[in-house]
């Protein structure tokens, strides 16, 4: 058995790189010249999502509007109207809209971190006991 205890090439606290957690200098130089494919993928997904939410049209698949084609913005506007009709205070409506916006921003960041995380160097990643 050969024991692998790789050197910690990169500080664990550094911002993770989607191009690989451990890189040799020439790999890093190459990366500087070429766009990271995972970054491009992440960008495409996020951009596609933004475009869909801003301009997309969906076929409603449930409830009283089943079968209608509506823009996402229309669905959202009707939802905010519904909250107001339900008697929600304007601040509550704003808070819910803010929660939705933060959810989308948070999702983009979670997605970025999902692409970025790499296997931890051996011997460096135990589980803490509960």
């Amino acid at each position: 058995v050969v024991e692998i205890a790789g050197p910690r090439v990169r500080g664990e606290d550094a911002t993770p790189s989607p191009n690989g957690a451990v890189e040799r200098p020439h790999a890093a130089a190459r990366r500087a010249a070429a766009p990271d494919p995972l970054f491009l993928l992440w960008s495409a997904i996020v951009a596609g999502l933004v475009v869909f939410l801003a301009l997309g049209v969906v076929r409603v698949e449930a409830g009283g509007w089943f079968g209608r084609r509506m823009s996402v913005r229309q669905v959202w506007a009707r939802f905010l109207e519904y909250l107001a009709d339900l008697g929600a205070h304007p601040l509550v409506v704003v808070a819910i809209a803010a929660a939705a916006g933060m959810t989308l921003l948070g999702a983009a960041y979670v997605l970025w971190l999902s692409f970025s995380l790499r296997d931890a160097p051996p011997r460096a990643v135990p589980d803490e006991t509960p």
Partner: protein, 524 residues
């Protein structure tokens, strides 16, 4: 190239045929990049769930009216509600009076449905626009050939009390709000239990396969984004508490296998198991796995070792849970109250025999649909195309699990250098325990179907973290190492897009168009 693989290249270039190396974890050290990921995921989860609470129509979740009424009875009358005794009730009814029972309050009748096809409650005749019932909600129904039955009783009264006790202070504190406002407060209080489930999924993945980025990312993300588990964490219900507690137990089982179940862990597991049994009886599915894991970790020959640990586990669980189960026995004559439910639910009945249900593709398909859709008390069905989009990777995960099992068994050379493919005994024992919990949870769903028409996939959800880990392990097996960083992001992206579609095309339109006549959709 992964960090592990790169490290291998640095140190073992001359020995490519070396045996796989599984480096044991070092207690006390950390993995900040993973900690950052889970912290952001949990924060994201909170805001997503706050939005979800508002997105689902009030009281539209399964049994929300009944759960809310249970909390109300407990909070305002300081007692547990009880299911009506059908025989006594019918005897009194024959005398010309409608006997009183622990009922869903009249003031909630407008929320039972819209009178145009939408019904959110079992066992309460729901015509909220009918002037007669609007004035005085129905409390009895006559079923031709079967007689009279109570209507609008708190049909979750046989559920253990922990969730309702935990919610009672919030109910009292929000007494100035309308029932709808109070129900939103209780919905918000489901979020912390969802957070526990997500965090436990992360700890489970890290405990079992420390340092594996793919599982560290995808397992908690699967729980955080799984639409129905997120739904549970935005409703007034006790299921999410059971999910959270069993998730903790699953994590504890794996840590116990690794550390040979130290006494402190046994006591903690016993405490959590007891709380689980006080939350929902489905928690019991995990008990055999805990017992078996203790015997595996300690060794069956060391009977003193596993007996002592067994006592440390069972004693707190029994002490906590026993009063409730004695109450059930004294009140209903059994340890579940289901015999009385069976009498009251004249419309329900067996779905089939155990083996018929086990092998019935429609039954399996129904549970799959409920696992991903069927929001709004089974009124929001997912489009079959979308269901197939979900089913294909699910099938792939099953195939991957089988491949993984064979690869571990045969020790395929191509898996060398991949610590996940060369598990220690405690690791594969942990995987077997997770599989066992999944099997028991599913068989419990099947067994319930042999008695009641309304068996549901959510009874499986306490095993969600086990299923998520096994499914992601299966997918990981099918994905070549260099592609895993992209794949883990793509899986999270797919789950994110699924959530967006569920809200935009299903949940929000359903909520907004509530007052319009309901159109039955897929599979209805």
């Amino acid at each position: 190239m992964s960090a592990t693989a790169e490290a291998s290249a640095v140190t073992t270039d001359t020995d490519l045929a070396a045996d796989p190396v599984v480096v044991p974890p070092e207690p006390g050290s950390a993995w900040p990049a993973a900690s950052r990921f889970i912290t952001v995921l949990l924060l994201f989860y909170v805001v997503k769930q706050v939005f979800s609470v508002a997105a689902y129509y009030p009281f539209s979740g399964h049994d929300e009216l009944a759960h809310f009424s249970y909390v109300r009875t407990l909070a305002t009358e300081a007692r547990l509600p009880v299911l009506p005794d059908l025989e006594a009730w019918q005897a009194e009814f024959r005398l010309g009076v409608v006997p009183a029972f622990d009922a869903i309050p009249d003031e909630l009748y407008p929320h039972c449905g819209n009178g145009r096809g939408i019904v959110f409650v079992l066992d309460w005749y729901c015509e909220p626009d009918d002037p007669q019932w609007k004035r005085k909600p129905p409390r009895a129904v006559t079923v031709p050939g079967l007689g009279n039955f109570p209507s609008g009783y708190i049909y979750v009264a046989n559920h253990p009390p922990l969730y309702y006790v935990a919610m009672a202070p919030a109910f009292l504190a929000s007494a100035r709000l309308s029932p709808v406002g109070q129900h939103y407060v209780l919905r918000l209080l489901a979020i912390p239990f969802g957070l526990i489930a997500v965090y436990a999924a992360y700890r489970l993945a890290r405990a079992l396969f420390p340092g594996d980025a793919f599982l560290t990312v995808t397992v908690p993300a699967a729980i955080a984004f799984q639409p129905q588990i997120s739904y549970e964490a935005a409703l007034v219900n006790n299921d999410i508490v059971a999910i959270a507690l069993v998730s903790l137990l699953l994590w504890g089982i794996v840590v116990g296998l690794r550390d040979r179940f130290p006494l402190r862990l046994c006591l903690a597991l016993g405490l959590v198991l007891g709380l689980g049994l006080l939350t929902k009886s489905t928690t019991a599915i995990v008990a055999p796995a805990i017992g078996l894991a203790v015997v595996l970790a300690v060794g069956w020959r060391d009977w003193r070792g596993w007996l002592g640990r067994g006592i440390a586990l069972a004693a707190p669980a029994a002490v906590l849970a026993a009063p409730w189960y004695l109450f059930l026995y004294r009140t209903y004559g059994d340890f579940s109250g289901l015999s009385r439910i069976r009498e009251l639910q004249y419309w329900s009945g067996p779905m089939g025999s155990f083996f018929a249900l086990l092998t019935d593709p429609q039954f399996v398909g129904g549970r799959f649909r409920e696992t991903w859709g069927e929001f709004g008390w089974r009124l929001i069905h997912l489009n079959p195309v979308l269901e197939w989009v979900i089913a294909i990777p699910t099938i792939a995960a099953f195939v991957g699990m089988a491949v993984y099992a064979v690869a571990v068994w045969r020790g395929f050379p191509f898996t060398r250098g991949d610590a996940v493919a060369w598990p220690h005994p405690w690791q594969w024992q942990g995987l077997v325990m997770l599989l066992l919990v999944c099997l028991l949870a599913y068989l419990a769903v099947v067994q319930f179907g042999t008695e009641f028409a309304l068996t549901q996939a959510r009874y499986f959800f306490p095993a969600a973290n086990a299923a998520a880990l096994l499914a992601m392990l299966g997918l990981r097996t099918l994905i070549p190492g260099p592609a895993r960083p992209a794949a883990q992001g793509v899986i999270v992206a797919a789950l994110l897009l699924l959530n967006v579609m569920v809200f935009v095309a299903y949940v929000l339109p359903f909520t907004v168009a509530y007052d319009e006549p309901f159109a039955w959709t897929w599979g209805g």
